[in-house]
Amino acid sequence: MPERALGHLKVIELCNLVTGPYCTKLLADLGAEVIKIEPPGTGDAARHRGPFLNDIPHTERSGLFLYLNTNKLGITLDIKTPTGLSILKELIEQTDIFVEDNSHAVMQELGLTYDELKKINPRLVMTSITPFGQTGPYRDYKAYQLNLYHSGGEGYLLPIQSPEPNREPVKGGALVGDCICGLSIAIATLAAAYNMHATGIGQHIDASKQDVMMTMVLLEIAMYANLGVVRNRHRRPILMPIPMECRDGHIMISALTEREWQDLMHLMGNPQWASDERFSHWIQRHLHGDEINPHVQEWAKQFKKDELFRKLQANALAAAPVNTPEDLVKSPQMEARGFFVEVEHPEAGKLKHPTVAYKFSATPWRGERAAPLLGQHNEDIYCGRLGYDEEAIARMKENGVI
């Protein structure tokens, strides 16, 4: 049996919805033992959000929750009761990493600050995820993914090349904002774990989602400070890549270098307009893109997106079809790489799941465990790990602690 990259790490997760759970999912998928703590009764809010299997809302059949919590163990615990709080501390005492996404005020109130927790576990790596970080005037501000996308600076620039500058700026699609935050924060967490194993010293990580979002547009942000360029989403007359319409959808075509430009023009049959003096140098082409793009668009329209994609790539041109989720699930490339893996879940049945973007030669990804049912591992952890007997468990359940 192949080893797992992070099989030696123990993680406690006290997080909700997307960012925190995605952060620890990345660790769980590489073999870390992640114990996810959910409030009794309701569980993680992601359980109440769609998509649901067959569109029937059910806390164990949310595709969002199932995706974000693969390979984790799940327990329920009411940390707002003194018993719950002391059990949480027992778990923290035995873990390497503790990832939480509560507000600064809540953690203070519960006495779950890093300064307190390092007394019971000096090797602890504690990652605190908040919208705006542990310091600064917005420390206690509330924000959902929408607000972070916009306060992080990328929202204002989207949709780029907007033909309607009077309309509102928009966020990136799907879970992009929350997931990139979870991913970035996982890097700092693993760096701290690396340091802990080297030195025996734990530490606290103050992770601000707004900071992560801003680093994703660091080039645009720095551009104002260094070049005085103010960016917006208004359409500029630049050369592709912009989505070009095909018969059955869109394609992105790049022709940035001289070689690529020549090859594209050759493919298009060396049209007369291309010999214009103004299109003879890349900067000139770039600045007169609005005169070039319509010609390419006209040409692209006669093809199907996949057909044109293959034609362009056969000539070493970096094109790609604008795929829908359906296209991706049916993509032979994804199939060949085993990007989707079937995982069996007691309530949702056998379902394909998207996996990870990397293949580790020595420690491959394995979809060994579907997302946990609410409280699925209570007995394993409370009895097996912490040594509570069955009667104690029964009492705590009656009292709503677990």
């Binding site: 790490l9 569109d55 929408l146 600076g153 509102e168 992009v176 760096a191 801003m214 680093t215 991706l328």
Partner: protein, 404 residues
């Protein structure tokens, strides 16, 4: 002085362009010694120009773009077209922990620097190979820039107005792929620390973005529904949009999830009669009638600046934030307090403002220690000090255009 988290980790960085460079840049913030292997024979295009604003820079050492994504790194010139260049590359790899590269699949192998060769040179080496579609599968030879891998991943289809064309986002997609590479490397470093074993990582930039669309992919898998872009809108929350404010192209984002937040919002806007209408009486009704609701919310927001709206709403626990431009961010008090932007002194460009790492580690701070290197800035350190080559030999290799 405090220790760095990745102290003692050396990375031989064969990456170029944005996605490759920022990956190892993140690890350099955490204290890894990153040696960028570059050559005058194949200069990183980000040293020379930016397509974002269609500008070319003077020479190879005057690019604020290159500087922003190659902070803390060293640079050694090495011509990999020359057989002696390959030999020297192996010597550098022999004393490194990680090799990172983002050439087309097969290119490193062709040069004799594939993983099979490198693990003979350094058995516990960690090698990251990042490419548009990954090193396996029918599309492995296909190339791609950020706009193409974003398109293939599904992110482009899901971004934009619901009645508008798909949108490829900004260069952020490159940096997202870079962040994925950095994560994969640091996971492999943790494994090596525990077991002493290195390995090869084959990373697909397409997949690094596809994983961010997990909800849409699950919807297709579970319900055969093909989701599409929907601007700022949410599947259950409303209001959930950007609303016009006083000023030129100024907007505030407002997101309301609970009944409590809705009531607080209504109080702030003065409990107008329309807010009590049946069509806005519960979360579902507000969501169903959100277009009408958005127009009414805008009638209120246009009277205030985005900061005023933000403050009024945050005070009562409603999530609101301005949609910041790159200019406005610099005068924002929170941005200033978090000190994400710092100034560095670049050998050729002078003072430059850059963004540092987005996390604060209490014991091993991640930080900007220096500007990006000018090309070949550390030739002497790498070839002289690390490889122990005499000055005469280095001079000879420069003359032969090996160190070039």
């Amino acid at each position: 002085m405090k220790r760095s988290a990745l102290e003692g980790v050396r990375i031989a960085d064969f990456c170029w362009l944005w996605a490759g460079s920022y990956a190892t840049g993140l690890l350099a913030f955490l204290g890894a010694e990153v040696i960028k292997i570059e050559s005058m024979q194949r200069v990183d295009p980000s040293r020379m120009m930016t397509l974002t604003i269609g500008q070319s820079f003077e020479g190879v050492d005057h690019s604020p773009v290159f500087n922003s994504i190659n902070l803390n790194k060293m640079s050694a010139k090495l011509n990999l077209k020359h057989p002696k260049g390959i030999e020297l590359a192996k010597k550098i790899i022999q004393i490194s922990d990680v090799v990172s590269q983002n050439m087309r699949p097969g290119a490193m192998e062709k040069m004799g620097l594939g993983y099979d060769v490198l693990k003979e040179v350094k058995p516990d080496i960690i090698m990251l190979s990042s490419s548009a579609f990954g090193a396996e599968g029918p599309l492995k030879r296909y190339g791609g820039y950020a706009p193409s891998f974003a398109a293939y991943s599904g992110v482009t289809h899901l971004t934009g107005y619901s009645d508008g064309p798909p949108n490829p986002m900004t260069g952020s997609t490159d940096l997202m792929s870079a962040t994925t590479s950095a994560f994969a490397i640091i996971a492999a470093l943790n494994y090596r620390q525990h077991t002493g074993k290195g390995q090869h990582i084959d990373l697909s930039s397409v997949e690094s973005l596809a994983v961010f669309t997990g909800d849409a992919l699950m919807d297709y898998i579970m319900n055969s529904r093909v989701q599409s872009r929907k601007g700022n809108r949410d599947n259950i929350m409303a209001p959930h949009n950007c609303y016009r404010c006083r000023g030129d192209d100024k907007w505030v984002s407002i997101a309301i999830a609970t009944e409590e937040e809705w009531q607080a919002f209504c109080r702030v806007i003065g409990n107008p009669a329309w807010a009590g209408a049946d069509k806005f009486s519960d979360a579902y009704n507000r969501w169903k009638n959100q277009y009408e609701l958005d127009a009414l919310v805008t009638e209120w927001t246009v009277n205030y600046t985005h900061y005023e709206v933000t403050e009024m709403l945050q005070k009562v626990g409603v999530a609101a934030m301005p949609s910041f431009s790159n200019q406005e961010i610099f005068s924002d008090p929170h941005f200033k307090e978090r000190k994400l932007a710092v100034e560095v002194e670049h050998p050729a460009m002078g003072k430059q403002v850059v963004l540092g790492p987005p996390w604060r580690l209490s014991e091993t701070p991640a930080k900007v220690t220096k500007a990006s290197p000018v090309i070949g800035e550390n030739d002497e350190y790498v070839f002289g000090e690390l490889l122990g080559m005499p000055v005469s030999e280095i001079k000879q290799l420069i003359a032969e255009q090996v160190i070039y």
